[in-house]
């Protein structure tokens, strides 16, 4: 302190005090600046930030409704919802989505298909919405994710429901399946209804009644934290569950039909001719819809799609085949009603048929012919030359008009997606589609259900029902309206015949097809304790798809005739129509008719027992 005496202490004090004052003023100004900044944030910008904070806090999540159940007409559940866990990601909450998915992949496995589906869904969703990555997690995967949860911001394991088909492949073509929505499907729908859900009906009843099965979306306002984890639900607008549907289908009968077809490619349509209620709609080979609803990987799905046997193809409603001799009862009625032939008129069959000035010879299926043939016999023995003559007399135009009245060349109107229309040719049809004139020979071919003529099994069943009903048309349907006295509208008008006995004559012929000594389906009448009216058909396979390679056995097999049979029972008051098609099955009587008999036997038993079937059908 010796220097202190030389120093100007008051001046030094003034200097420091001056600086203290300056610092105080600057400090106060700086704080005012801060206060001003914060005032700006909290007043001018308040609305903006309040909204942002609200957005931060609340996430609106769509709540998918539970999909309606599908039952058969006895109440067996054909499609239900099973609880499962799925893994979702909120893209906004993650830094590096690809890396995150890689990590999840390393932990529980993520297929390419799942990755693709996720990316598709993510592109159409908003960043804050949870996008499903895996639809079904094993218990092990759930546990693994739970343990590693802290590593995965934005990743949630959510309970949800997956579609399950207890009967698997049985009835799969009728019931259909659900699959992930893709972008084009979403485009043609109301997006709001599909927000937050990932599946929709792709085929069958699942697709046809999508709107009723689906229900209405609900929503939840969920409070979330910064990691996107839900904290609590603020408000809930509950979803409206989808409607449960009851089908006319009988799963027991369906099983019988499929088992009767066995390994063969083919279709069975069984329906109630009084109402059009479909009892069985089989198409073989089938597939397991559970695999698809659970998210099939692309390779497996493509394998299913490119399978030569086309398991995904619903032959019953989309397979088009030359109906062959199945047209004969209908053409017979047409021939008599149009005056081309008389019921009792006999036409001689020597095994061949010729047209004047045409070198080609049309043959009967039976070498040597059937002799004198009237309408009934023509049906029973399926006499081709009778129908060549009938066709010649009627001409293609009258045939077209009459057959159309039975529904040939039309859609049956079944309530399923993907039904294809058959072909009932006419002069106009040929000019329009092929640009060629009609030749008389083609009329003859049409007379035995060959040539250009094509029909689907369901349309054949519908036409058969009209026959069984003696002119009353039906519209086949799978949905049980609960009021079968009022059948759904049909395209075909009732067919009134001047001579009502013509129905009986035709039906008599069909009864003899099964029960007569010379009937083409007499092979199935052994031990038959009820009566069946039926008609066999064996149609030539005209073409095989070009550019496809088969080995020789395969070619041979695929060249073989399609076997067909259509029938109804009981004869007096028909309750069931069964139409069977077996691709490349050979003769209708030998291959297709036994399938129909099997179905009818089962149905008869159900009638007697009130629904129960004996062990051999279970």
């Amino acid at each position: 302190m010796d220097l202190g005496t030389l120093r100007d202490k008051p001046r030094e004090r003034r200097i420091i005090r001056g600086r203290l004052l300056t610092a105080g003023v600057i400090g106060t100004l700086l704080f005012l600046l801060l206060a001003g900044r914060i005032a700006w944030l909290q007043t001018v910008q308040y609305d903006h930030f309040a909204a942002q904070s609200q957005n931060n806090r609340v996430r609106i999540a769509a709540v998918a409704p539970t999909r309606g159940l599908i039952r058969d007409h006895r109440g067996h559940i054909l499609a239900e919802n099973q609880p499962a866990f799925r893994l979702t990601i909120v893209p906004e909450r993650t830094d590096d989505l690809a890396a995150l998915i890689d990590e999840i992949d390393a932990l529980i496995g993520v297929s390419d298909a799942e990755r693709d589906a996720f990316n598709d869904a993510r592109r159409r969703g908003r960043g804050f919405q949870a996008v499903p990555l895996k639809l079904q997690l094993s218990d092990r995967a759930v546990a693994r994710i739970a343990v590693n949860r802290h590593r995965f911001p934005g990743v949630e394991v959510q309970p949800h429901l997956v579609r399950h088909y207890p009967y698997g492949p049985i009835g799969a073509h009728a019931v259909g399946y659900v699959g992930r929505i893709n972008e084009s499907e979403l485009r043609e729908r109301d997006r709001r209804r599909y927000r937050g859900s990932s599946v929709l009906g792709k085929t069958g009843v699942e697709k046809a009644y999508e709107d009723r099965l689906r229900g209405e979306m609900g929503s939840e306002r969920i409070e979330t934290n910064a990691l996107g984890r839900p904290i609590n639900v603020i408000e809930r607008d509950p979803p409206v569950p989808g409607e449960d549907l009851t089908l006319t289908l009988d799963i027991d009968l369906q099983r019988v039909a499929e088992q009767a077809l066995g390994e063969r490619r083919g279709a069975v349509v069984a329906l109630d001719p009084r109402t059009g209620a479909i009892r069985a709609l089989a198409s073989q080979p089938s597939f397991d819809p559970n695999q698809i609803s659970q998210g099939l990987d692309r390779a497996t799905f493509q394998a299913l799609q490119s399978d030569v046997d086309q398991p995904l193809f619903n032959r019953a409603i989309a397979g088009r085949y030359p109906p062959g001799s199945l047209v004969k009862p209908f053409l017979g009625i047409a021939g008599v009603a149009s005056g081309a032939v008389d019921v009792d008129e006999e036409i001689y069959s020597d095994g061949t048929y010729r047209l004047p000035n045409v070198s080609r010879v049309w043959r009967d299926w039976k070498r040597g012919g059937h002799g004198e043939v009237d309408l009934e016999k023509a049906i029973v023995e399926s006499v081709d030359s009778y129908y060549y003559e009938l066709a010649r007399r009627m001409g293609i135009d009258a045939m077209h008009d009459w057959m159309t009245r039975f529904g040939f060349g039309l859609e049956s109107g079944v309530d399923l997606p993907g039904e294809r229309q058959g072909i009932m040719p006419s002069r106009e049809w040929k000019t329009e589609t092929l640009g060629e004139p009609w030749y008389q020979g083609e009329t003859l071919n049409t007379g035995i259900g060959q040539g250009f003529m094509l029909a689907t099994p369901i349309q054949l069943a519908t036409s058969t029902a009209m026959l069984a009903n003696r002119g009353a048309p039906i519209r086949p349907h799978l949905i049980d309206t609960g009021d079968e006295s009022a059948p759904s509208p049909v395209k075909t008008r009732p067919l009134m015949l001047e001579d009502e006995t013509l129905w009986q004559t035709t039906i008599n012929g069909m009864v003899d097809v099964v029960h007569g000594d010379s009937g083409t389906a007499r092979g199935i009448n052994e031990g038959l304790d009820y009566r069946i009216a039926g008609k066999t058909g064996t149609s030539q396979v005209i073409n095989i798809p070009q550019g496809e390679e088969y080995d020789e056995d395969e070619i041979e097999q695929r060249f073989r005739d399609h076997a067909m049979f259509t029938a109804f029972t009981p004869v007096t008051s028909p309750g069931l129509v069964v139409t069977v098609l077996v691709e490349n099955g050979g003769s209708g009587g030998g291959t297709a008719a036994p399938v129909a008999r099997e179905v009818m036997d089962a149905w008869r038993q159900q009638q007697e027992t009130g629904g129960e079937l004996a062990r051999r059908w279970r």
């Binding site: 610092a23 106060t28 900044r37 007043t43 904070s53 931060n56 806090r57």
Partner: protein, 378 residues
């Protein structure tokens, strides 16, 4: 020598302040202000911890330790501090070097020295040792400080700032630098030099950018300039804390009702960003109250400096007060998006031990300076 408390209130003041001031060497005004601030801090922290009481109790215990340190330090007369100042500084520098060589890695930076029982941050010691040393150096010579001495002091300040910055701990480096600089400023550093230093600093920015900063520090500055650059990365903190502040409005969302904080949107919400929690729940009313409290404490510190009876005490008291102010300003500035995020706690509100103990020790020094006046001068 004038008694500061002459006049009508003298009797009353002596009655209340006598015991505190003479026997315990505490300043009643600072004590009340600090108690108010700490109490408010506990309330805000309780909310920031989502209504859990345990961490708040921990905070209270540390507050007690800090208060004890404050009381103890208040008993040490300023001249003793001046005497140990250089030694403390040298110790601090040695420890900082030790940290760089053998420190514990914490959060990507070497800041801690493991002393067995507790981790110790030498940079905390430097927050006090540097202003004491600088005040001691400046007070030895006549004021205003000469150019040459200014240069020496600047070099001395640069040494610990550089060491802390190398850890790297930008926030503490800024704070320690501010502590030294404010003492230098009070010592009469010429405005010409201040201007020159400011120019030099702006010229040095590109160099510092290029060579003196870590990637994450550059990132912080870039993000500060444009938070939306990386809305989910570094900018996220700034955006979310601004949302918290802005959505608080005039009156706030109410205590324990801050959704930004409770839903975990605010990062480090109980430490560096606790101000955002406060602003969200108490609104502009709370912000003004808190800033007023900070300003009042700073003002009281500056008043203590103003009234101090020797240059060392004046410089040290003023320097500590201004350091406290910088502390508050930088933290509130960064949380409200006015300054880049450098990582500094908010005095007495943020959860965390050593910074609070240092801070209260500093207030102990202020109280000592205020209460030892007559003895010191006589």
């Amino acid at each position: 020598m004038n008694w500061p408390d002459g006049g009508v209130n003298a009797v009353a003041r002596r009655a209340t302040g006598g015991l505190l001031q003479r026997a315990l060497h505490l300043d009643g005004v600072l004590l009340v202000l600090l108690a108010l601030l700490s109490g408010f801090g506990l309330i805000v922290l309780y909310s920031a911890f989502g209504g859990r009481i345990e961490p708040v109790q921990g905070h209270l215990i540390r507050l007690g330790i800090g208060a004890a340190a404050m009381v103890i330090v208040a008993q040490i007369p300023p001249w003793q501090l001046a005497r140990i100042g250089p030694g403390l500084f040298v110790l601090g520098v040695v420890l900082l070097i030790a940290v760089l060589v053998a420190g514990q890695l914490g959060g990507g930076a070497r800041r801690w020295l493991d002393l067995g029982i507790v981790g110790f941050q030498p940079s905390e010691l430097m927050k006090l040792a540097l202003p004491i040393l600088v005040a001691w150096m400046i007070a030895r010579s006549p004021l205003p400080i000469t150019l040459g001495r200014s240069a020496i002091v600047l070099l001395i300040i640069a040494l610990p700032v550089g060491l802390i910055g190398a850890q790297p701990d930008l926030g503490t480096a800024v704070l320690v630098g501010a502590a030294g600089a404010s003492v230098l400023f009070l010592g009469g550093l010429r405005w010409r030099i201040i201007t020159a230093l400011a120019l030099l600093a702006s010229a040095a920015v590109p160099l510092l950018w290029q060579f003196g900063m870590q990637d994450y520090q550059r990132e912080r500055v870039l993000t500060f300039l444009d938070p939306s650059r990386e809305p989910l990365g570094a900018g996220y903190n700034i955006i979310q804390s601004q949302i918290a502040i802005g959505s608080g409005g005039i009156n706030g969302k109410g205590w324990l009702n801050g959704t930004q904080a409770h839903l975990e949107f605010i990062p480090e919400r109980h430490t560096d960003f606790v101000f955002a929690v406060m602003a969200e729940e108490f609104g502009f009313v709370g912000v003004v109250s808190l800033l007023a409290l900070y300003l009042a404490i700073t003002a009281r510190g500056l008043w203590i400096a103003y009234e101090a009876q020797d240059n060392f005490s004046r410089l040290l008291a003023g320097g500590l007060s201004l350091t406290f102010f910088v502390y508050c300003f930088v933290n509130v500035g960064m949380v409200s998006g006015v300054l880049p995020v450098v990582g500094l706690p908010l005095p007495l509100l943020s959860y965390g031990g050593s910074a609070m103990v240092t801070l209260l020790t500093g207030f102990g020094i202020l109280m000592s300076i205020h209460t030892h006046r007559r003895m010191w001068s006589s």
